[in-house]
Symmetry: C2
């Protein structure tokens, strides 16, 4: 592509992306490093940099250049440039459709609603938060109206586009429904089994310094390039990318929770390996260098956390290393015990403390309820009752208060509707990708047991990471796995692992 309009467009977008990456550094620093009193000015600085990034991306010149490129046969004839251009057009149209006043109102509401949520959650008083919930839903509807529903779709679909481009609520419902139908009886059967494994034998005291060293060593072993990234500590673990060669993750540690930190590190490393695998040197700031939505991003973290990290083969490899690093407390533990411990299923009121299986009951109910609220089928005032009813039915638990019920998560207070389903999408894509990967690397278990992770990473790099936003997630899934998104690979994975562990007969499934 030597066309001047394309070159100028790329330059402007690279600048906008550079401002965004600086905003990411401001946020990373705030979570890991910043002294407490610096918060107010940091908010101001983040606002200024983000607004500058937005202004650059929505500059009228960008619109002119996109139109000029679209009219140029040479550019639209180049498949990579055409893919970039299609996504640039999509981002630009969405960005310019939001009026500046609405953006400002959203931004202010987000921070005030977040504060209100904190206070209401603390007091476990949903009534305090209700006006903000109503306001956030109203604002999200307005936002969705500006963007416009996709053809044949609704306002929820317009919101979903922000997190999972090319996917609709109806499509999600058609996969989440069967998932829920299959999951509920499995969870019930597991809960009824007297033979479940336990995490308890691994709740041993390990100094945090030793855990940090172990996790740092582990992420290098998985393939994380520490010359192009780092790992720190924060209250809420996260992964972020600050530029072409600067991917940072965090984990958190408690003295007797090394298994939790290990899982967190595997999860965040999965996100980071995706970021490090994107072709950013070539396409920084452009769709081809960017991750394909949250679902695929989450699929990468869950593939490493659940399909690698919770496999028997990984337990074989990691246990002797844990024993060497952490000493006597683990000396008599066996691989079977570790494999059981990381696969314990125990319904929990709290989503982020849930296991690999019951987690999805949490997500499906959030998806159903947020979609109903956005589409005006459920009044925000009726949320707690609807929530508690679903938790009873799907998880068999009673919700004692809204603090551990419908106010446990931060997402809605920050105005994020359409975000939750991407967590389960991540697990669905991970399971589907893992089946394809097993086909391509038949001896993957033997490799994991020897601590050889490169075959897994190479396969993901080639089949997922290298493509950036070239294809929507659905299309990527079909190209790589040969099939449409389905609940079946995830259920096969869970049933195949959990029924033997809990000594439950495998029923005949359709």
């Amino acid at each position: 592509m030597s066309r001047a309009c394309y070159a100028e467009l790329l330059k402007l977008l690279r600048e906008a992306a550079t401002f965004s990456s600086v905003a990411e550094l401001l946020a990373w620093d705030q979570e890991t490093t910043m002294p407490p009193r610096a918060g107010a000015f940091r908010a101001e600085a983040k606002g200024l940099i983000s607004a500058t990034a937005h202004r650059r991306a929505t500059d009228p010149r960008v619109g002119e250049l996109i139109a000029a490129c679209e009219a140029d046969a040479e550019i639209s004839g180049d498949p990579l440039a055409a893919a970039n251009l299609r996504e640039i057009r999509r981002d630009h149209d969405r960005a310019v459709r939001l009026p500046v006043e609405l953006i400002a109102e959203i931004s202010e509401t987000d921070s005030r609603a977040l504060e209100a949520w904190r206070a209401a959650r603390e007091a476990s008083d949903y009534a305090l938060f209700l006006p903000w919930m109503e306001k956030q839903i109203a604002l999200n509807r307005r936002k969705a109206e500006c963007w416009g529903a996709p053809e044949g779709g609704d306002l929820y679909d317009a919101l979903l586009e922000d997190f999972e481009p090319g996917t609709t609520g109806a499509e999600l419902a058609s996969v989440f429904g069967p998932l829920r139908a299959a999951l509920t009886p499995l969870v019930e059967a597991l809960a009824a089994s007297p033979h479940g494994p336990s995490r308890e034998p691994f709740r041993v005291a390990v100094p945090v310094g030793k855990q940090k060293r172990f996790n740092r060593e582990l992420l290098r072993h998985l393939g994380f390039d520490t010359r192009a990234g780092r790992m720190d500590v924060s209250t809420h673990p996260f992964s972020t990318s600050l530029g072409p060669a600067d991917t940072r993750i965090t984990s958190r540690y408690t003295r007797d929770g090394f298994l939790d930190s290990l899982g967190t590190t595997l999860h965040e490393t999965g996100h980071a390996l995706y970021e490090q695998g994107l072709p950013k040197e070539e396409h920084f700031g452009l769709p081809l260098g960017q991750p394909m939505g949250l679902g695929i991003h989450e699929s990468q973290s869950r593939l490493w956390e659940n399909h690698v990290g919770r496999s028997r083969a990984f337990c074989e490899w990691v246990l002797p290393r844990l024993q060497r690093a952490f000493g006597s407390a683990l000396r008599s533990r066996t691989v079977d015990e570790l494999y059981g411990a990381v696969n314990e299923v125990r319904p929990n009121l709290i989503r982020v403390e849930s296991d690999e299986a019951t987690y999805h009951a949490h997500i499906v109910l959030r998806f159903d309820l947020e979609r109903a609220m956005i589409l005006d089928h459920l009044r925000p005032a009726d949320l707690p009752a609807a929530w508690n009813e679903r938790v009873r039915r799907d998880l068999g638990l009673d919700v004692p208060n809204d603090r551990v019920g419908c106010m446990q998560d931060v997402h809605w207070s920050m105005g994020a509707f359409g975000y939750f389903p991407t967590y389960t999408l991540g697990s669905l894509y991970a399971a589907q990708l893992w089946e394809a990967l097993r086909g391509a690397v038949p001896d993957v278990d033997a490799r994991l047991a020897r601590g050889e992770f490169d075959a897994v990473l190479d396969w993901l790099r080639e089949n997922v990471h290298a493509h950036g936003r070239r294809w929507p997630a659905r299309e990527l899934c079909r190209r790589v796995t040969g099939g449409a998104l389905s609940h079946e690979p995830l259920m096969r994975h869970l049933e195949g692992k959990l029924r033997p562990l809990y000594r439950i007969d495998v029923p005949a499934r359709k």
Copy 2:
């Protein structure tokens, strides 16, 4: 000030300063945290943010608003607003006088010359660096011509304005000359004394973790607000300010160099206490909230490092604490030994490894030589010979090669001419301020010996920190100490301390 033009001006300048503070965070992160491969993109991001800050500060609208404010009697009648406005005008005029092409050429030359300097220093081959030295001098002359020499002054004065506003080379020469004349015989006499103290007894192994904890505790004790700042580790210690309540310093550690780290922490804490004492909540991004030049900034670091940290009283307070923290290796050490150790004088070829006294021989020779080069009295090709000659005369040392000679410092390679003298200015102002402080707080020694640092900090806050850039350094000095800048307080401090320590008779001085 309720005038709309003043309010709008302050808003624009606050935004420009916010961009600058973000550039500072990018730099801080690069020095302390950033993964190595992220360097190229970081340079791009820093360039973009700095250019944005510059464009904001030099926006034509800023010039219009300054003129409108200057024409407004209400604003010029308010002493604080008038002081802000005077300095805003000064900064603006200097900034807009540099053509954009020159700024770009300077920026590119700086990074290429820095690279060339690294390679030339490594090879100890000045000839490799000479073309870049010539280029930097030519560029600095062009820059100085754009700014214009102050009335009755020369091009070097124009450069000096960037680091030490309101001071001229002639003025510096009139103080540095007598300083050199008094210092050289003192250094000779100290070198001839057989009774000098030694740092050796304190070169004991202390784990770096313990040192870090001690230094962190120390800076809190000195009055550093850790809720509005932090201390980290970097190769070259520095202090930086990232906003109204975010001042960060770094130190560095070696296993057997805890005294060095202690001195570094005192020094950087001095810088940080100044930043934390500036009225930034009220005047962020405005001259009244900014430090008054590098000389005063350095005076704060040196006052804490040398007048507090190298005093007998501080040694009395700190030794038992060191013994408690670092254990047996220091058990039999005495206060006299510590006081001697921190005041050892030993001419060194390397500026940054020099002691409190011989350090100034380094600075005065750099000042003389850089001024001569800028004013075309010394050809850059003749620098090594001139340098070596001066080191022989003023420090009694032979320079074996340019690596430890005229290529030891980074400053000239980065195009900073007029920076070096501010180091000695710092010591001169520190000594002069310290005499005034002793007058106001007569029992300061007793307080230091008890570890009560608040009287020192309060006096500095009230007399120096609170004023920001309200008065030029010379004027501030006169207001606070009652006298003009002079070499005498520093010489009184050095002679009064070092002659007894080295058992040299005090000669009659004029």
